[in-house]
Symmetry: C5
Subunit: 304 residues, 5 copies
């Protein structure tokens, strides 16, 4: 075990040996193994956006096996997906890559002002599938956030009791926030804090913009001169908001974007002390060879 991995694990020393073992499995796997950085492949868009919108741009991705292979070949640290996708490949690729079972999901067949995901899997499912952890999405800002926090609380207690680590997607949305507010710096930092306080081992947030949403917060940001630019400083603030960096926080790139932008963002994450990226649509919606090349470049930045 590298010193860096040991150091990171030391922040989780109230957790059981089982949980720390699974965190170590993620950190020690793939091309970034041992660096303390991570790139995770998440594929829940089939549920979240529908199959054609997700997979028609690169039809081999309709197959659940495709994503296992992509994550393995690219050397990702872990692969995260809902129940059906993992059931369809977990036995075929048993032991080849750390798996994270995404335990709640949301579809777009009905528009809602205050979204809430449905619980679609269990800790028992994760254990049966040989996963190292479970994933759960919360929407701070939604009128249903209480339900989601309480579901997460119960799932996290159950997961920890069974040695699984807990990865929380913390995506501010809902009637409490403007559209710009969903990625505002103050809101992203707050969302990261909430996830960490709820006991997440790994926190995943979106990259924050320089917008400030809440008047009370804005006042403090100005008074205390928290820098809004460049992006790396915003990343640094989110990392600080996540227990002063003592919780792993990773970032998602969102919709498919041009590669130069994405790589610049990765550089900013690295520079700001972020622990890595979750890269979904930007990898599986392009031909496999291109995806492998992009992920190679991303990992090269994190590993440098």
């Amino acid at each position: 075990m590298t010193e860096r991995v040991k150091q990171i694990l030391s922040w989780y020393n109230s957790a059981s040996a089982g949980v720390r073992t699974n965190l170590a499995r993620i950190m020690n796997h793939g091309k970034l193994g041992g660096t303390g950085k991570m790139v995770i492949l998440p594929v829940d868009q089939g549920f979240e956006h529908g199959p054609a919108r997700s997979f028609a741009p690169n039809p081999p991705a309709y197959s659940p096996l495709y994503h296992f292979q992509l994550a393995i070949e690219a050397g990702c640290n872990a692969y995260a997906a809902p129940l059906g996708f993992l059931e369809a490949g977990a036995a075929d690729y048993a032991g080849d890559i750390p798996l994270i079972l995404k335990l709640n999901n949301h579809d777009l067949l009905l528009e809602e002002k205050d979204p809430v995901s449905a619980v679609t899997g269990s800790v028992g499912d994760a254990l049966e599938l040989g996963c190292v952890g479970v994933g759960f999405t919360i929407y701070p800002g939604s009128a249903f956030r209480r339900e989601m926090y309480e579901e997460l609380r119960a799932i996290a207690e159950d997961a920890k009791a069974h040695g699984l680590c807990v990865v929380v997607w913390s995506y501010p949305r809902g009637s409490g926030l403007s559209k710009a507010g969903e990625t505002a710096l103050d809101v992203c930092a707050y969302a990261a804090q909430i996830a960490a306080q709820l006991g997440a081992h790994i926190v995943k947030v979106k990259l924050p913009t320089a917008h400030l949403e809440q008047p009370e917060a804005k006042k403090v940001y100005e008074q205390t001169h928290i820098p809004l630019e460049p992006l790396s400083e915003r990343v640094r603030h989110v990392v600080q908001s996540c227990f002063d960096g003592r919780r792993i926080v990773i970032f998602s790139g969102g919709a498919k974007e041009d590669d130069a932008t994405l790589l610049d963002e990765v550089r900013a994450i690295r520079q700001g002390g972020g622990f890595g990226s979750i890269i979904g649509r930007n990898s599986f919606q392009r031909p496999r060879a291109e995806a492998l090349e992009l992920l190679r470049q991303v990992m090269a930045i994190y590993g440098s």
Copy 2:
């Protein structure tokens, strides 16, 4: 066991031996046994539409025994019905045909914009009745879809833990959709994907029309040239949307229609790679001899 059945079972290799045994029982039973194709007789219309609307056109069908006999004599792969109907005949026909207990149902004594079925049976009931699996309906597009997904999640986990397979009727309905949208190609494919991600072993959807409901999806269908015609291509798209064909997806014919149309639809399902049909009203609402003849023709197409 035929090579085709072995191949299909290989897609479910994360499932327990018990679940795979019960999937095999369905695939190896009846006239289509061993072909990997299936025709299932479902009779929940007494609950869903009322007894007279369901059975008065062919009065012997008021008797629960009638449907067991029909499914057995026609050589169907399985018979699916709610608790009362199965309780009324399961002991008489013990072992004669694989049974699927339909675990939720919805009546029409009150019209609702956002339908939600009541849970009307349990995995324990299914085990007591000697069933091979359980059936569950979800209505993607309904404001209550979250409740249904979560009920299904719990039932599916329970069923799998007891070696039962899980059949999901995924019928888009509710305030999120137009009437035409309920059978739109993008929506049917999405509904199939959701069922598969929720862990269904067998997915049942309606035959899709060439309508596209969701603007964001429509854009992708056009950009990626997903063919909307003929019906067999739409079937192929739904099958692809169901884990690239690695989950059994079958189709329902809906209301009673003329036989030529129905048989054309069956040919399209077969041509598009679909795994079979659920045929209810088109079989039990006509005299028994006619029903047997129709089912014979349907199976002849699938078995050819």
Copy 3:
């Protein structure tokens, strides 16, 4: 055991020996013992309508003991009441008459468009009181029917696991129905079907009128020439709708009415193949001797 009782029990051959034993206890008790017909005394009006409206017309009926004695002396097949009434006499009359614990109840201190009963007892209570079965009311047509169906499902599973039989009062009411629709033939038949599909061993409905409520159903009644007159034909249709007569279905007389009408109704029930009556207010709201005489006449018709 008579051949008729054996025949009826054969329809329940998926049920446990315990359930069939308790069904046999009801069918073999009292003056109609062995005939396959039954008259049950139900007394939940104290809860449903209030004590004075229920018992002031015949004040001895305020006492819970009165009803045990009436049911025993009249030779009823069973006595059904809520928890309090059974607790107040079950030990005094232990073994003298089969008891059915009514597990949900509704009061009239608040008017509601969509009624829903409160669960007021449990299967455990029924077992402690030595009952042969449990009773449960559902209101098809109410916006809360889903809650009631699901409560019934859970209670029925529990009852069956403990060898108790399940009696379902299926009374259409609620915003889905007009007042006339509550006793419409199509609606009564539908309500009986729902109860049977939910796993009821004994179904209790109101006597249907010749009204047809639902347009879609009306079309079928007309096309298939289901007779609306006389009453005995309507009874026959309800019996047919209850699994072609393979479930015991009994009828209630409703409010206190003149005896000639009531006896005519009983004759129609018998002629139409109904299995018996539940007679509450028409018996306990008149002096005991008169009640005994009326019940004697009712049973004479069923036993003839």
Copy 4:
């Protein structure tokens, strides 16, 4: 054991020996021990109305010990209070007086049209504190009555399974009733009946006025000449409505009133066959010596 206590216990002969033991403990304790009459001190006003409104008129009553001492010294049959008050004195006065843990409570910091109490204690708490029974308030007439009835059902089953007796405060309130209707004779009698049907061993209602609230009930009261005057006749009607007197029913005096009125009411309760009083504010809101004297006079009437 006196004959009267034996007689009363005989009405509860479906209850376990444990429950009857605890009923006997209440009936055999204090100055009225053995008479079959009872006076209970209830002190939940701190929660229900706030501390100053409850205790400032007699400041020693702020102390939880005060009420134990008052109940013991006055020779009450039992003392009833919420969790906090009992926890604060149960060990100090262990075995000195039968205790009833009040299991739900309601505060006045928010006005509601349809009140519902919060469950604030458990049967387990009652057992740990050495109580003889549990108390529970229902508000018939409230839109939330179903929730309360169902909570009571579950608690009563649990209590009985552990040998505790069940005391139900049945206070009509809510949008189904006018203000005058809350104490109307028909409504009080109905409320008593509901509590008894829900399985209460001891029913507590308010003294009824001569008002009749419900038109359908009013018709019956007039037709059957139920006397509305004097108060003792109204008490007699409520007692009759409580299983013809086969359930213990006691009455509360409500707000602090002048002593002559209160003693007249006690005489009417006694004359009408009531089993006793619950006297809270009229005792603990006056100096201790005066309270003891008043309770002495009340008990003298019941004991005469």
Copy 5:
């Protein structure tokens, strides 16, 4: 053990030895150990107000370790925080200071008229982290208070069964109250009473103003001449409202204020018989040395 600690513990003599042990641990720890007074450091503002608003004024406070160190070095009696913050340091500082796990929390990403906190931890979590007790916030005056009281009830029973003590933050808020009413004397006293009746071992309220909110209460305050000034008298009234001083009641200072005011308040709390303070933002939002000095002065007042 000092006589004062023994005396206080004697008020809790219905509690288990385990609970009393943990109460003793709090009372015997730190600079105020043995005095019966206590100062607790609570840090849940990261969740309640967001990370920047909470920690940017003193950036070292972003780290969860900072607060453990501050509480230990200052000689506080206990440190209270949500799950994430305790998990991040409990193993590092095992045994160094009594810990209280805050079991529910509320964020400000959505404004609500009737607030309700989400349950964010469990008694099991508290036991795993070596805590001496659990903390829970209720909002009397909120339309959701019933949910909160019932959650607290269940948690308190569970905590007590495992020997943990229960600390209740009772903060009146919601549509039942005006803004001024949230800290009104009558409302604060009522809130303290409710917490005590719900079985809290330690009650935490805000310092009350001289405002009286509820008309019915106001009448009583005037009639019984409850003094509204000075602050120490208001503290005395709250202490009296908390079981005549037989429950530990402590006070919070609220937002950051100038030190002279804060120390004056502490003097008033001490003079009025309060048991101590919870001091959060006033300590961790200033540089560590200044915080230690302020806490030293606060404890000097309590210890004098």
